[in-house]
């Protein structure tokens, strides 16, 4: 990939850009407002909508800063430094640990109390698995791959078959190119539907059954297409977590730990079939989670429920259908916004098709997807995450106290509602600035002139501002409920 010709920015322009960045950053920072925080109620010095305006100013200033100060591609091909090797024994131990944890929580789901808050399974699935692992992945890299239970079983089975000669002459099927990451899109959509729409989402025994079904599907996929290929294309959760790990400064590969610049793992993402859909689903489902707690959605739901009720569904199923419509509409809206940003790039040339551009810039959505996850679920992890102390001591909810922490309670005062709001706003702004940076860097690599690269990103900037405003509107609506 030939980089765009570097050009030194004029001093006056650079100075103006720096001043703009500094001014807008000062405007966006909360200042002394954090001292006003009250537990359980947000005490903000300015109206919430003003944060959306400030965020838009930060994004525009970042865009100007990038245009002036970032003249050559820096993230398209980063150097990774090997920091330490990992013994094979450690790999085996972590795999065994993953299988043991999976077996324990599934057993708890079947054998424990069916009260969702007293059984460890719902908390592990919705707090630690769905939200905690993405947070860990961004900090420590793809840690889930080390403890992925179905991958560990698949690898162990492959090793046994190789040793016994059972696999002699048997080659995995070639993975269909058209399938791409579509199994992941379907898997994440189904899980999000269960979490956000399904009325029995907290039922421990149903969750345990679904976990076993998912593991079985993964083993079938690995047996058909090979452990490695399926785990990188078809394992919904494995691919989902690995996507977040791409923006981490740590990279685990070839039994070693490497370091790289933050965001450096995102540009090499191969935009195989389904990748754009996957990122849109990742953002869309989280957006729907926020929307479903707001007044706008809750004012529409009764009408949708009536509509589906008139079609013959009972109240519960009509509500689920309304939620299904909401998830699909939100994912389509995110896809449409991204498409608009991509279409705007044609203003500086039409050599690349919309499809090619769509794939070339899809990695810019990864930090945005993470920002949405962090913003929408931070309070869940901050508060509900503490429940693990009691649940680990009494995983079945039968009154046992294995670790002596069964009576631990949740401390709701360690961070105020105001503090959570600032974390949410900060996550959204930083995530979108990171997205802009990745888009600018890719544009520099694709377009001959740096100026054209900047012009090509006008509409992507508009999309980023739209995503940020949407995110803040959803969070604000949820906070007012």
């Amino acid at each position: 990939m030939r980089p765009a010709r570097p050009s030194r920015p004029p001093r006056r322009a650079r100075g103006a850009a720096l001043a703009t960045v500094a001014l807008t950053a000062a405007l966006a920072l909360p200042g002394s407002a954090s001292a006003h925080g009250l537990v359980g109620k947000q005490d903000l010095p300015i109206p919430r909508w003003l944060f959306a305006w400030a965020a838009a100013v930060v994004l525009v200033a970042s865009f100007v800063g990038l245009a002036v100060l970032w003249a050559t591609p820096r993230l398209q091909s980063v150097v990774e430094r090997r920091r330490l090797g990992i013994a094979r024994a450690l790999e085996i131990v972590s795999g065994v640990l993953g299988v043991a944890l999976f077996a324990l929580v599934v057993y708890a789901g079947f054998a424990g109390t069916q009260a969702p808050t007293a059984n460890i399974l719902p908390t592990v699935v919705y707090v630690f698995f769905w939200v905690g692992i993405p947070l860990l992945s961004v900090i420590f890299g793809d840690v889930f791959r080390a403890i992925n239970p179905w991958l560990a079983i698949g690898k162990a089975a492959g090793w046994v078959m190789k040793r016994t000669g059972a696999a002699d002459g048997v080659e995995p099927l070639p993975y269909p190119e058209r399938l791409g990451r579509w199994p992941v899109v379907i898997g994440i959509l189904i899980f999000a539907w269960i979490e956000l729409v399904y009325s029995n989402k907290d039922d421990p025994s149903q969750l345990a059954t679904m976990a076993l079904v998912y593991a079985a599907v993964q083993l079938v996929g690995m047996s058909l297409y090979g452990t490695e290929m399926w785990s990188r294309r078809g394992d919904a959760f494995g691919v989902y977590f690995a996507m977040f790990a791409r923006i981490s400064p740590l990279h685990w590969r070839d039994r070693a730990l490497f370091t790289r610049p933050v965001l450096g793992g995102a540009p090499p993402l191969t935009p195989v079939a389904g990748t754009v859909a996957l990122l849109c689903v990742m953002i869309g489902t989280t957006s729907f989670d926020g929307a479903s707690q707001g007044t706008t959605w809750n004012s529409i739901v009764p009408h949708l429920q009536d509509f589906f009720g008139n079609l013959g569904f009972n109240a519960e199923h009509a509500l689920e259908w309304a939620g299904t419509v909401g998830i699909v509409v939100m994912c389509c809206l995110i896809g449409l916004l991204y498409r608009l940003g991509v279409l705007g790039m044609h203003t500086v040339g039409r050599r690349l098709s919309t499809h090619d551009l769509s794939g070339a810039f899809v990695h810019t959505l990864i930090p945005i997807a993470f920002a949405y996850v962090l913003a929408h679920y931070f309070s869940l992890v901050a508060y509900q995450g503490q429940a693990i102390a009691a649940l680990a001591s009494d995983p079945l909810g039968d009154g046992s106290n294995l670790l002596g922490t069964a009576s631990e309670t949740i401390n709701y005062t360690w961070i105020s509602a105001t503090g959570i709001w600032y974390v949410q706003v900060g996550a959204l702004v930083l995530g979108h600035v990171a997205g802009l940076t990745l888009a600018h860097d890719r544009a520099l690599a694709l377009f001959t002139k740096a100026r054209d690269a900047t012009r090509s990103q006008y509409w992507m900037l508009a999309v980023m501002v739209a995503f940020t405003s949407l995110g803040l509107w959803l969070l604000s609506a949820a906070a007012q409920q």
């Binding site: 909508w49 191969t270 706008t296 070339a360 690599a445 001959t448 900037l461 604000s476």
Partner: protein, 56 residues
């Protein structure tokens, strides 16, 4: 049903407009800038090539 639904919840939609305003302003400014760029007649940029088929 749709028109009634929109009118009945106008308060919610109108409050949301405050969040939409920055988007409209940015889109307007960028549209104007694009128009100016095009009038300058320098939209002859060429795309070099497709992205690398990266590993991953």
């Amino acid at each position: 049903m749709t028109a009634g639904l929109i009118l009945a919840h106008a308060g919610h939609w109108l409050a949301g407009l405050l969040y939409l305003a920055p988007v409209v302003i940015v889109v307007g400014a960028l549209g104007y800038q694009s128009f100016k760029d095009r009038r300058r007649g320098d939209d002859d940029a060429e795309v070099d090539h497709t992205p690398d088929p990266h590993v991953g």
